[in-house]
């Protein structure tokens, strides 16, 4: 009902209804075409949606304001207030590039502070079914994130939370890591053999052992190139349960770690010569979410 609707007042009175409908229809068609034209080319790059890539990182936090202050001061991130559905969602940028999101989970019982990393998969529904068949659990059932992905969050068979994303659009896959971005993921396993087998099935990885020092096999999970590392936690490590740890590329991990307590965070693993030549620290933000800061190459 155009005549009685909100648009009626701005239509010319001396034009027939048919003319008006034709004009509006043409405008609508053009608008839709314009909109479609503004959407990025779908999946143009050959490797832009390659499964096995970690394509996004969301921080679960009970204090978004504290997280903004911390990551802004430590890593120079800038922030943008947006919404996902009717809920606030803060996007973080490094330079002009969006690198992460902050989600307020203060209203969700049992939600601990942590980073959830999203692994690209070919079919998120099939991936979720695989997770369940191997003993994992579904935390968030597959759902559409408009124009971005069909996404879900699960815990794997060892209990590690993990996001799964069937991408709807190409995402950058830089040839070289960039400072201030998550550039690597590491799986800290309680049972490395089981985890290797599971993630090879889930993401089509191949793996190779790149280090056996300290009596620990370090596995690199790769498709067209290395995407993540995986190693088994020592039996004496009781405080850490299997998890995916995101790595941010920095140039001075020890220097940044020195600033962490003053910004309200904690240093969980300090820089040490025997630890990748002092190139790695693991910190916790003010809410307690762990994050690795790594210099690379090291």
């Amino acid at each position: 009902m155009i005549e009685g609707g909100a648009l009626a007042g701005i239509l010319p009175r001396n034009v027939s209804i048919m003319r008006r409908l034709t004009s509006i229809g043409a405008a609508a068609v053009l608008a839709v075409a314009f909109t479609l034209g503004s959407v990025p080319a779908p999946l143009a790059a050959a490797d832009s949606t390659e499964s096995g890539r970690f394509v996004w990182h969301d921080l679960m936090t009970r204090d978004v304001g504290a997280a903004r202050q911390f990551y802004g001061a430590l890593l120079g991130w800038r922030f943008e207030d947006t919404k996902r559905g009717d809920r606030p969602y803060v996007l973080a940028r490094a330079g002009s590039e969006m690198v992460a999101g902050f989600v307020d989970v203060s209203a969700i019982p049992d939600a601990g502070p942590q980073w959830i990393s999203f692994l690209a998969v070919d079919d998120v529904d099939k991936s979720v079914a695989l997770v369940q068949s191997e003993g994992g659990k579904v935390l968030v059932a597959p759902r559409e994130v408009p124009s971005v992905a069909r996404a879900a969050v699960v815990t794997d068979p060892q209990g590690a939370p993990l996001g799964l994303a069937q991408l709807r659009r190409a995402v950058p896959d830089p040839e070289q890591p960039k400072p201030g971005r998550v550039f690597w993921q590491e799986y800290l396993a309680r049972d490395a053999s089981q985890a290797l087998a599971f993630y090879k099935r889930l993401a089509g990885y191949e793996s190779k052992v790149t280090d056996t020092r300290l009596g620990i096999e370090y596995h690199v999970l790769q498709r067209t190139r290395g995407r993540a590392g995986l190693f088994q936690l020592a039996a004496t490590t009781k405080d850490v349960e299997p998890n995916w740890l995101p790595y941010v590329l920095v140039s001075d991990p020890a220097g940044l770690a020195a600033r962490v307590p003053g910004l309200g965070g904690r240093v969980l693993v300090p820089a040490a010569p025997e630890l990748r030549n002092g190139s790695l620290v693991v910190i916790a933000d003010p809410g307690g979410a762990p994050l690795a800061l790594q210099k690379y190459p090291y």
Partner: protein
């Protein structure tokens, strides 16, 4: 029969295009934004941190 008022039609077109672009812009943000209720995997006890071997091979 009179011709359609081109000014009004152009105005309508502009309104619809702007609305469409704004809607598209809302969807163009990255990120998932899914809240997850799962406990933290790093405790604060006294067994010491994990031993990190290896390292990234980007």
């Amino acid at each position: 029969m009179k011709q359609p008022n081109l000014v009004s039609t152009a105005f309508m077109l502009t309104v619809l295009v702007v609305a469409a672009l704004l809607t598209s812009g809302c969807d163009s943000y990255g990120g998932m934004g899914v809240g997850v209720g799962a406990p933290t995997r790093w405790g604060g006890g006294g067994s010491g941190p994990p031993v990190f071997a290896g390292g990234p091979r980007f």
